[in-house]
């Protein structure tokens, strides 16, 4: 995955709480085993009606929000199912940052691993941003500076763990990082645990 620095563009406003990953990526599309091309199924049942035609007026069917780099949403966006497809589909759609008062926790982690910046801000601030987003004001999310800028307003700072930020900025693979930095610690942990809970190492007694 390539690194992330900043993204600018329209933000789709989704002023609703608990937009769960079943809404973001309906379960029946989980039968697809590739992670490419999933963007077309993002929010499928909101975007299309039963005969496949577009639902008029839905934000993602409205210019300029068809492939929004940013989503601003109500609390608990991405709650529910752990499906990482929800994040891959958002990424496929062009989304690079999600702003909300709170995100589903598994979804939050999945964002960090897939080049989408999770931006958690206080509810009042998100409410204002929802209004600006709906009005079509451009958003800039700058990961380097850890700020969101809405139109000409002053940049708003957000929190993100330093390690996660660095990994996102550089597009690092988490597994590579863990293996490169902690292989010895993992082995040491296992040696210690084996003494206390030997039953967790059945491969040794049965091998």
């Amino acid at each position: 995955m390539s690194g992330f620095t900043t993204v600018t563009g329209p933000a789709a406003a989704m002023p609703e709480e608990n937009i769960d990953t079943d809404i973001i990526f309906p379960a029946r599309f989980l039968l697809l085993t590739s992670r490419e091309g999933l963007g077309q199924h993002a929010f499928h049942d909101r975007r299309y009606d039963a005969d496949g035609s577009e639902v008029a007026g839905y934000v993602l069917n409205t210019e300029p929000f068809r492939a929004p780099p940013v989503i601003v949403a109500g609390a608990n966006f991405g709650s529910g199912s752990s499906r990482e497809q929800a994040v891959w589909a958002l990424h496929g759609l062009g989304v690079r940052a999600v702003i909300a008062p709170a995100l589903g926790e598994i979804f939050h982690n999945n964002c960090l691993r897939n080049g989408i910046v999770p931006v958690i801000l206080p509810p009042e601030q998100v409410a204002e941003m929802l209004a600006s987003a709906a009005a079509g004001v451009a958003f800039t999310v700058d990961l380097e500076a850890q700020t969101v800028t809405v139109g000409n307003a002053a940049p708003v700072r957000f929190d993100i763990s330093p390690e996660r930020r660095l990994a996102l900025l550089n597009g690092w693979d988490e597994t590579d990082l863990v293996l490169a930095r902690f292989a010895d610690d993992i082995a040491a942990f296992e040696a210690g645990q084996r003494k206390i809970q030997p039953w967790l190492y059945p491969e040794e007694t049965t091998a």
Binding site: N18, D22, I23, L31, A102, E105, R113, E174, I186
Partner: protein, 467 residues
């Protein structure tokens, strides 16, 4: 030493390294794998040329996409290829596998405990949010994404942030037809669908100690619906009795040694929690969800909310939207709402105790005409046990379909799904829009309540079905 909660003990026992910034590298003892969330994890392994660090710490099974009408053939080509891909992956990476046609197949969160793969004191992950279920054994169990799964496969470790803690205390005596499902729904209705976000929930109190493992699992299973990734019950004699003798559990002397260790996994007296919620079970009636989020739940005898009466504009909008999606009239009684489908099963309520509760209501009665009612055991072992007890006969005599094990109509990825406008009394855990099929309407409830709805043909009070 400062008194610690169960969560803190489990956490501390798995810390590999402190990563700073509030993050920890946590050791992962067990990983359960299913066909839907794992393909991309294995692709990552293959692309990077990685091996599984400890193949024996994984257990794979096909449950989500597998049909439950029959075994042996899979009509949907996408489902067939997804399961074939899982089988190829488990062969290539030497992952222990519960065969599709074997005796241990079933839903991930049912077979983990049944095989003894799920043990107290462990960290357990799965690419599935209802991994919370295994917390019923005093295990730190949580759902993860596909990328995280691949890290666990390669490194047996995951970067995690420590949660805050929340104690849910269950006091009082419940009505015999009030089940863990009702308690969970009542809790979520009270604290909200994000009422436990960022918290590890521990259930305590005499009512919890008195619960069988099945009900503890139902409680922990539903914890994710309050926004928490972790539900916990401290292990005790009930837990040990359940685990003892299972295929993958420690045996003989090793079991005794394990019990000694598990005995230390209790919150210390004086340990403090960030939040405490107390529920009086004597005040809880059988619950039914009416909306599209599990917190939109009411006692069965209640009337539906009237958005015009709701002061908060956000809440009013949510209620309006949910009622419209559900095709319900504001201010009318929930009781008597006709259902077209009944689904008894899932990792929430697909265990033998659940099937017994449904059969007790169904005994000597008939499913109402026009209602399609299916019973889907959570595992093939559960199915066999139910057949041994004759529950299948009671249910099929009443007109229920008796299925093979799988997720079935909980997730609508297989051939069991609702059509637009269908209304289902369901023992599953999520009433999200389209969860049981696009346009489908889900009412969550306990197995006894779902069986009562099947017999009545509409939402009914199970308490009226017993003498």
């Amino acid at each position: 030493m400062k008194p610690r909660t169960l969560y803190e003990k489990l956490w501390d026992a798995h810390v590999i390294a402190d990563l700073g910034g509030g993050e920890t590298l946590l050791y992962i003892d067990r990983h359960i794998v299913h066909e839907v969330s794992s393909p991309q994890s294995f692709v990552a392994m293959r692309t990077k040329g990685r091996q599984l660090r400890r193949p024996e710490t994984h257990l794979a099974v096909a449950d989500h996409a597998i049909p439950t009408r029959q075994r042996g053939t899979i009509d949907d080509p996408l489902a067939a290829s997804q399961i074939a891909e899982l089988e190829a992956n488990v062969r290539e990476f030497a992952v222990p596998y519960a065969e599709v046609n074997g005796p241990e197949q079933g839903i991930v969160h049912v077979i983990g405990p049944e095989t003894g793969f799920t043990l107290p004191g462990t960290t357990i992950v799965c690419g599935d949010s209802h991994t919370t279920t295994h917390g019923a054994f005093g295990a730190l169990a949580f759902g993860i994404g596909a990328s995280e799964q691949s890290t666990v496969m390669a490194a047996q470790a995951l970067r995690q942030t420590r949660a805050k803690t929340m104690k849910v205390e269950l006091v009082g005596t419940r009505h015999p037809l009030v089940f863990a499902k009702d308690i969970a729904l009542a809790l979520i209705a009270r604290i909200g669908a994000n009422g436990a976000v960022g918290h590890a929930v521990e259930y305590v109190g005499p009512a919890v100690s008195a619960m069988a493992m099945a009900e503890r699992m139902t409680l922990c299973n539903m914890t994710i619906e309050a926004g928490s990734r972790i539900g916990l019950v401290a292990p005790d004699e009930t837990t040990y009795a359940f685990v003892k003798g299972r295929r993958l559990a420690p045996q003989g002397e090793m079991f005794a040694k394990a019990c000694e260790y598990w005995d230390t996994l209790r919150s210390d007296p004086g340990a403090t929690y960030d939040k405490v919620v107390t529920l009086d079970l004597s005040e809880i009636a059988p619950q039914v969800s009416w909306g599209t989020s599990p917190n939109q739940t009411l006692p069965v005898s209640a009337t539906l909310p009237d958005p015009a009466q709701i002061a908060d504009p956000g809440e009013r909008r949510e209620a309006e939207k949910a009622l419209a999606y559900m095709g319900l009239t504001p201010g009318t009684p929930l009781l008597g709402t006709p259902v077209s489908h009944v689904f008894i099963g899932s990792c929430t309520n697909g265990r033998i105790e659940d099937l017994r509760a449904a059969a007790a209501i169904a005994l000597g009665r008939k499913v109402a005409p026009g209602v399609k009612a299916i019973v889907v055991p959570g595992s093939m072992a559960t199915r066999k046990a139910a057949e041994f007890e004759g529950l299948d006969r009671i249910l099929t005599d009443a007109g229920f379909e008796w299925r093979f094990a799988g997720c079935s109509m909980c997730v609508a990825m297989n051939d069991d799904r609702l059509s637009p406008g269908d209304r289902c009394a369901s023992t599953s855990n999520r009433n999200f829009e389209g969860r049981q099929g696009p346009g489908g309407r889900t009412h969550l409830m306990s197995p006894a309540m779902a069986a009562a709805a099947a017999i009545a043909g509409h939402i009914a009070d199970a308490r009226e079905f017993v003498a």
